[in-house]
């Protein structure tokens, strides 16, 4: 079953120097449970695509294309009702894990607010247990719900964000560089957690990033964005072995390989350095 179908999406920002097309004619679709990666440099339109889906563009607007979520045309949903789709049908794992939690509310309260505003009613005890279970699923102690954000590490905060994203069992998770604020070891663990809960839930996921190596391990299909356009899509293996677009080739070439690692090491004994030593 197709969860998400984006057809010819175009997003425009009005600027003093005329309209700027942040996203141009982007089309891709996701089947249930599929993992799709979106790579590209900063400003290539990855995040804008996600924000357009959430209808949270600041100052920008969708000027063309169709967005279908579980077969429903999102353009037909009025602004006032869009709120009820967010997190219930598609959730977001934010980029800035360090600053995405409200500093003055306890973790449990911030997760509980999601239930409260999506008309999910529990008794206080049941709510506590459910929030505790959610936290346990992302590898945190259930007691974390009584903590404030500043008492958690960056990795723990991002795990809390993942717990929030699966709270209402959405069919689509949008993860906007969910690990970019974390250090390398924590990145891997958090991404593994995200992958595990996504598989358990059976949700489709769009993972945004610019780390090709991390992507290659996580997603099945990859889309490469460049200057607002989706220049290439396909299975990861195909893209890596046979990149079509020059920008994709550049991205892949930017990865350190063992060959080039060797050349880094030999560079120490380069004539330039030796001359410098004299």
């Amino acid at each position: 079953m197709t969860v998400l179908d984006i057809r010819n999406l175009t997003v425009e920002y009005r600027t003093p120097r005329g309209p700027f097309h942040a996203v141009r004619n982007v089309s891709f679709s996701l089947e249930a449970g599929e993992r799709f990666g979106l790579v590209g440099e900063s400003g290539s339109g990855k995040s804008t695509t996600i924000l357009a889906l959430m209808r949270m563009l600041r100052g920008g607007m969708i000027t063309g294309g169709e967005l279908l979520l579980n077969g429903r045309d999102l353009a037909a949903v009025p602004d006032a009702r869009y709120r009820t789709i967010r997190f219930a049908e598609m959730s977001l794992v934010p980029q800035g894990a360090m600053s995405s939690l409200n500093p003055v509310l306890k973790i449990g309260r911030q997760i509980g607010d999601i239930f409260a505003d999506h008309r999910v009613r529990h008794t206080p005890e049941a709510r506590r247990r459910i929030i505790g279970d959610l936290l346990a699923r992302v590898g945190l102690a259930p007691e974390v719900q009584d903590r404030f954000p500043h008492e958690l590490s960056g990795g723990m905060k991002q795990r809390v964000c993942i717990a929030m994203a699966i709270a209402l069992k959405p069919s689509l998770i949008l993860a906007d560089e969910p690990t970019s604020a974390l250090d390398v070891m924590v990145q891997k663990q958090v991404l593994a957690t995200l992958g595990r809960v996504q598989r358990e839930l059976g949700a489709a996921i769009v993972l945004i990033g610019h780390d090709m190596a991390l992507m290659a391990h996580f997603v099945g299909r990859l889309g490469v964005m460049y200057r607002g356009e989706l220049v290439e899509t396909g299975p990861v293996r195909e893209i890596f072995t046979n990149p079509q677009h020059p920008y994709t080739r550049m991205l892949i070439d930017s990865l350190p390989s063992f060959d080039r690692l060797a050349s880094f090491r030999t560079a120490k004994r380069s004539p330039v350095l030796q001359r410098g030593r004299v």
């Binding site: 959430m54 949270m56 709120r83 009820t84 789709i85 967010r86 997190f87 219930a88 959730s91 977001l92 934010p94 980029q95 800035g96 600053s99 995405s100 939690l101 409200n102 500093p103 003055v104 509310l105 607010d113 999601i114 409260a116 505003d117 999506h118 404030f148 500043h150 008492e151 964000c161 929030m164």
Partner: protein, 333 residues
């Protein structure tokens, strides 16, 4: 953890009080000129007398203990501060300074406490709404109009109110805290009389202050709404009302509360000009009279009260802050 924090803050407050008392003791004694001599000269001039006053000066010096060494004076000053004996008024001689302060304090605390709290609540709420993109345009225009008042000094607003509502329309009394001759008692009549007399002074302060609170709050609200946790709150599909109140307002409020504590610490000195315009029997009016009459001991007493109450207000704020902002106690490590 909390006990250690409280102890540290309490020590800080004591330090501030000790410094304030010391400066309050030292400053008048460092000033050129002799208050006793000046006062006696003035007395003689108005009394039409003249001649040698050195004997009288010495007598008065001995009376106020000014002939002793500075250190001895300092310790006896501390003793009198502890026994709340702030000396006698020079201008209204037998009256004790502590009595003068106690007579004016309830009026000032009532007037300014009420006006400050009302303008804080209204201004903060208004500022929050002005910083919120979903606020209707009409409310926005109304709020911006109110902010205009903050650029007018409050004594000017007071004079306009006084002219309009006390002199032209005669709805409110032109001055005083109570009708002449009415004795204060805890009954309905007294309370309404106090409220009736306090309306214009309070209104002039509130009108002038609301804009300042609203401006500060609007700025904070705008910067808070740019935070990542607001974006995530919206992505979570929370109701706008909840985002406004618990994610926006609640965070933007923190600096406002610091400002409130400072302002409340200041209210004991009164709103001098408002109290003068409305002849309101508060501390501010008394301070004004004391400055005009070179009444050193009264000035010193009021300044001491002011610094101590600011120190206490800051201490109370420090105690309350961890409850409002959970990051404060543990955020240090």
């Amino acid at each position: 953890m909390y006990a250690q924090y409280v102890a540290r803050r309490f020590g800080m407050m004591l330090l501030v009080v000790v410094l304030a008392v010391s400066i309050n003791f030292l400053l008048p004694r460092l000033m050129p000129g002799d208050p006793v001599e000046a006062q006696l000269n003035q007395l003689l001039a108005t009394g039409g007398g003249g001649g040698d006053i050195s004997a009288m000066v010495d007598a008065y010096r001995a009376r106020f203990g000014l002939d002793q060494p500075l250190l001895a004076q300092y310790f006896s000053y501390w003793r009198s501060v502890f026994s709340l004996d702030l000396g006698v008024s020079l201008a209204a001689y037998p009256e004790r300074v502590s009595h003068a302060i106690l007579a004016g304090l309830p009026w000032t605390l009532g007037l300014l406490g009420f006006a400050t709290l009302v303008s804080f609540v209204l201004g903060t709420w208004l500022g929050g709404l002005l910083g919120w993109p979903r606020t209707p345009r009409i409310a926005r225009a109304f709020g911006s109009g109110l902010i205009l008042f903050s650029s007018v000094p409050y004594f000017l607003i007071g004079m306009v109110l006084l002219y309009l509502f006390a002199i032209v329309f005669r709805w409110f009394p032109a001055g005083g805290g109570m009708p002449f001759g009415q004795s204060a008692g805890f009954n309905w009549q007294t309370l309404t009389a106090i409220a009736w007399h306090g309306t214009l002074p309070a209104a002039s302060i509130i009108l002038a202050e609301i804009g300042a609170w609203a401006l500060g709050m609007r700025g904070m609200m705008v910067s808070v709404l740019g935070e990542d946790y607001i974006t995530l709150a919206e992505a979570k599909g929370l109701k706008p009302r909840r985002i406004f109140r618990w994610y926006g307002l609640r965070n933007a409020l923190l600096p406002q509360l610091t400002k409130l504590a400072m302002t409340l610490g200041h209210i004991v000195s009164g709103a001098i000009l408002v109290e003068v315009i409305f002849s309101y029997p508060g501390i501010g009016f008394r301070l004004y009279q004391a400055i005009q009459a070179n009444d050193y001991f009264v000035i010193q007493g009021i300044v001491l009260l002011l610094s101590v109450s600011i120190a206490i207000a800051m201490f109370i704020l420090d105690l309350a802050y961890p409850l409002i902002d959970p990051r404060i106690t543990t955020g240090r490590e």
